[in-house]
Symmetry: D4
Subunit: 167 residues, 8 copies
C-alpha cells in the first residue's frame, strides 16, 4: 500500500458510515492514507499529539469529521500548519447546522477548509486536489474523474428523457 | 485579595467587554478569581495546560467565554473534571447562534454548563451557586442578592406605573 | 440507597426516555437522587413548592428536562439558589431549537446551566462534577470515568482501523 | 378612569418602549387597564400571585410581554383561566426568535395567544377584540378603527402615487 | 347540538388530523362549532365571505389552521373583528417555521392569536377561555379541566417514580 | 407532440420524483416541453450551452430544479434573458433551506422566479401563466383549472363536515 | 406615458424605498406601470378587487412587495391568473426570513414568483423578461442591459486591480 | 513582484473591504497573486474562462468571495481541478447564512473549501497552507506566523490581567 499522505480522523466510530466515502475516494485515486478514531473531547491529548506529529510522519493533508459541537477539525488545525479539511456530520438534532457552524466559523488565524454537511466524498476529493497542486499525475486523474462524472450526468439525462417519453 | 477559586478565561481581549460582567459578580460576592486570555486555536497548548493544572492550583470552577466556532469551553472541559461554564459570545455574524451551538452541543461524556449568549453575568452567578453548594455563607449572600433583585423589580414597577399615570 | 442529593425533574413522562440517561449516570456514580414529573404549566404550584423546598430536603443540585416552550428549568431556578441544570428536549417540531432557546436564554440574575439538546447524560455528569467540587471521592470516580471513555475511544479506533483494513 | 379589565405585565422596564403601544390602544378604546413590572424569574411569587388573583380583581384579559427565555406569559397562563396574550420582545441577540419560540410553543393544555415579535399594538387590539365578544360598543369601535385604517392606507396610496408622478 | 359559537376552518383536509384536536376540546366543553375546509388561495372569495358573515351567523371566535405560506388566519382576521386564533401546521419542509412566521408576524392593526405549531388542542382551549370571559359556566369547566390535568401529571409522577424504583 | 416551449432542467436524476410534478402540469395544459438532466457543477459547459441556445430553439421559459448549493437556476439565468423559474429541492440535510436561499437570493440584475421548496407543480403552473400572457387559450385553461381546484376544496369541505358529523 | 402593463403594489408606504427600485427598472425599459398601496390585511377587499380586475385593465404582470407575515402577493395570486411576482421586504425583526417564507412557500395551485429579500430591482427585471417572451423589442433591450452590466463589472475589475496595485 | 500562484476573485467591488484581508495575508507571505472582479451571474463566460485557464496561467489555488446566492466559488470549482477556497460574504440580509449555505453545501464531486463568513484572512492563510504542502519555506513562515499569533495572545493576556488589576 501507498505511504500515507492523508490523515483521516473522526470523532467516533458512529461517524464511519459518512467518513467511509472519503476513504473510498482516496483509494480510487490510489492516495495513501491512515484512519483514526480520536475525540477532541474524550481523548484530547491524543488529538493534539496526532496533529502535532502528522507532518513528521509524512502526512500532507488532514481530514477530520465530527458532529454536534464539532471541535475536532479546529483542534487539529490549531496544532499543525498542514491544511485541515473539516466534515460537519449531521447528528440526531439540529440537522447538521450545529456541526457546520462549529467547524466553519473558525476565528482569524486558524483556517479549516469546510465541506458540506456529510460531505466526506468531497473532503476526499479536496485532499486529492490539494496534493495534485504539485503532483501532475493526480491532476490528470482528477480530470479523468471529472470526465467520468460528466458521462454519468449524460447517462442520467438519457434515462430521464426516456422515462418521460421524450426520446 | 481572596485566593482564586474561579478561573475566568476568554478567547480574545475583544471578549472582555462581555466577560467583565462575570468578574464584577465574582467581586460582588467576594469570590477570588484569576483572569486569562487563552485561545483554543492560537494557544492550544496553553489552553490545555491551563485546564489541566487548574485543579491543583486550587481552582474549583472554570468560566470560559468565546465566540464564533467557540471551542474554548469544550477544550477546557476535556482536560479537567472541574465544572466548566461556557459563555457564548455574539460576534459580527450569525447573531451568536454559532457560538451558542459550538458550546452547548457537547457530545456525551464532557458537559459544558452553558449560559445565554453574552450571559457572562449569569456565568458568574452560576459559579457562585456551584461554590455555595458547600459554602453556607455564599448561599446566604445569594439569597440577599435575590432579595435585592426583587426590590429592583418592584422599583421598576413603581416607576412604570408612575410613567403610565396609574399611581 | 443513598440520601438524595440531586433532584431530577421532568415536565412529562414522555421526557423519560431521554431523562433516564441522567439517572443512569447518577446510579453509576452512586449519587442519591429523587425523580419527579412536575409541569411548570400544568402543576405550577408544585413546581415552585418543589424548588423552594429542595434545599431544606438536602438536595444540592437540580436537573430539569423539558421540551417546546421549556420553562421548567427557569421556573425552578427562580425559586432556589441551588444550581439548576437544564436539559432541552427535542419535541416533534423545531428539532429542539425551541427547547434550547427557552432554557438557555435566561435573563441576567437567574442562570440555568444548559446542556445539549437531549443531553441528559451530560446533565448527570455535570451534577456529579458540581458535587465533586468538595467531594474528593467523586472527583476520583470522574477521573476513572474519563479513563474508561478514553479506552472506549481507543477500542473504536482499533475497530475502525481493522474495518478499513489498515491493521 | 375606567375599571381595569386588562392586566398589562412586562418582565422589565426595558420592555416599556415596546409595551407602551398596547397601552395606547387600550386608552384609545377607553378600556380600563392596570400596568405592572413583574418578572417570572426575579419575582416569581409575585408573578403567580398576580395571575392567580387577576380574575377576582375583575381582570378579563392578561397581556404579558417578555424577551429572551420569555417565560412570563406562560407562567401567568398556568395560574389563571383568563385568556393570556403573549408579546415576544426582541432583545439584543437572536432577533426575537428566542422570545417568540419561548412564548408560542406552549405545551398542550395551557395556551398563550401569541402576537408578532414586538407586536404590542396588536396585543392591545386582540384584548379589545376578546372583550368585544360580548360588548357591542367595543365591537362598534373596532369597526370604526378598521375604517380609519383603511382610510390611512388610501391616503398612503395617494401619497405614493403622487411621489411616483402617476397622479 | 349546541348553536355554533366557534368557527373552525382549515386550508385543506390534510390539516384535519391536526385540527381534530381542537374539535375534540370544543366537544368536551360542549361548545357549539362549525367546521369548514376553505383555502385562502384556492377559494379566496369563500374565505372572505366566510369571515365577513361569521359575526352575523352568531360565531364568536374563529380558529384557522394552515401550513406553509399560511395566509388563512390573517385573511380571516382582515375581514372580521371577531378574535381569530391561528394554528400553524407543520408541513413536509421547514419543520413548521414557515407556517408559524406566516401566521404570527401579522402587521400592526390586524392581530392573529397564534398558538404552537400543530397546537390545535390549545386553539380549542383558547377559544373556550375567550368565550368564558363572560360565561361563568365555561370558566368553571376550565378550572375543572385544569384540576384534571394536574391529576394526570401526578399520576405520571407516580408511574415514573415506580419505573425508576423509587416508590 | 407540441413544439417545446418550456425547458425543464434538473441537476440530477434524483430530483425527478419532485420535478415530475411540473411535467404533469405542462402535459395537462398541453404545453410542449423538453426535459434534461444537466448539472451546473458536473457539466457546467453544457449548462451554459443549454441556456444560451434555449431562445433560438424556441424555448420561452426555463424551469430549473436543484438541491443543496443549488446553482443551476442562477447559472441558467445568467446565460439567457428568458424567464427562469427555480425549484429548490429538499435534500438530506438542512430541510431545503440551503436550496431555497441558494436560488432565491440572486444578486441584482439576474432574477430567478423562485417557487416553494419542492414546489415543482407551481413551477409548471407559473410557466403556463407566463406563456398565457399573450396566449388567450392558455389563460382560459388556467381559469378552468382554478374552477376545478375550487370544486376540489368544496368536496373536501363536504367530506370533513361529514367526518365530523356536522352534515 | 405608456399604457400600464405592470401593476406594482406594496403593503405600506414604508415599503416604497425598496419598491422604488422596480419602478426605476420599468421606467428604464419604458414599460408602462401603475403603482398602488394596498394592504392584504387593512384593505382586503381592495386587494382582491385590484387583482380581480387587473387583467381587464390590461395589466399583464403583477409585482407585490410586503413584509413580515407577507400575504399580499399570495392574496393577489389567488384572484388572478396573471403571473404575480413577490418581493419579500425585510422588516425590523427576523431579517426578512418571515417575509421570504410567507411569500415563497405557497401551496400547490397558486404560484408566486419570488425574488430575493428586498430584491425589487430583480422583480422589475423579471416582469420585463416575462413581457419580453412575445415582445422582441424588450428582449433586445434586456440583452443591451446585460451588456451594460458586463461592462460595469469590467470597470469594477479595473478599479480594484488599480487599487491593489496590480495594474 | 512574485509570479501569481493564487487567483483572488470577487463577485463585486463591494466585496473588496472583506477580500482585502486575504490579499494582505498573501503579501505578508510574499506569495504572488492576481485579483479580479468577476461575477458568476453578470459575467458568466468570463467566470468560466477565468477558471478554465487558471491552471495554464500557473495559478495553483483559487480564492473566490461572494455574497447572497453566492455561486462564484462553485462555478469556478466546476471548471478547474485546482483547489478553490470559498469566502461567504455577509450581505445586507440573512446575516451571511445565505452566502455560507450557497458556498459550502456543494454536491458530491465538486468541493469548495469554505471558510467562515467574511473569513477572507483565513482564506489567504489556507491558500498559503496548501502551497506549503511542497514548499518548505512557506511552511517555515507559517510556523513563524503561528508563533507571532501566540505572542499576541500572551500580550492580550497581560493587558487584560492588568486591566482587571490582577497583575
Amino acid at each position: 500500500m501507498e505511504k500515507p499522505l492523508v490523515g483521516v480522523v473522526m470523532g467516533s466510530d458512529s461517524d464511519f458510515p459518512v467518513m467511509r466515502e472519503c476513504i473510498e475516494v482516496l483509494r480510487d485515486f490510489n492516495v495513501g492514507f491512515e484512519v483514526s478514531v480520536i475525540s477532541a473531547h474524550r481523548t484530547p491529548e491524543e488529538a493534539l499529539e496526532y496533529a502535532k506529529t502528522a507532518e513528521e510522519r509524512g502526512i500532507k493533508v488532514l481530514i477530520a469529521g465530527a458532529g454536534k459541537a464539532a471541535h475536532l477539525p479546529g483542534v487539529m488545525a490549531a496544532m499543525t500548519v498542514l491544511p485541515v479539511i473539516g466534515v460537519p456530520i449531521k447528528s440526531s438534532t439540529m440537522d447538521g447546522l450545529d456541526s457546520l457552524l462549529s467547524i466553519v466559523q473558525m476565528p482569524g488565524g486558524i483556517p479549516v477548509a469546510t465541506v458540506a454537511i456529510n460531505g466526506a466524498k468531497n473532503a476526499g476529493l479536496l485532499a486529492v486536489q490539494i496534493l495534485s497542486v504539485t503532483e501532475a499525475k493526480l491532476k490528470e486523474k482528477l480530470k479523468q474523474y471529472r470526465i467520468k462524472m460528466k458521462q454519468e450526468v449524460r447517462n442520467k439525462d438519457k434515462k430521464i428523457k426516456k422515462e418521460v417519453g421524450l426520446e
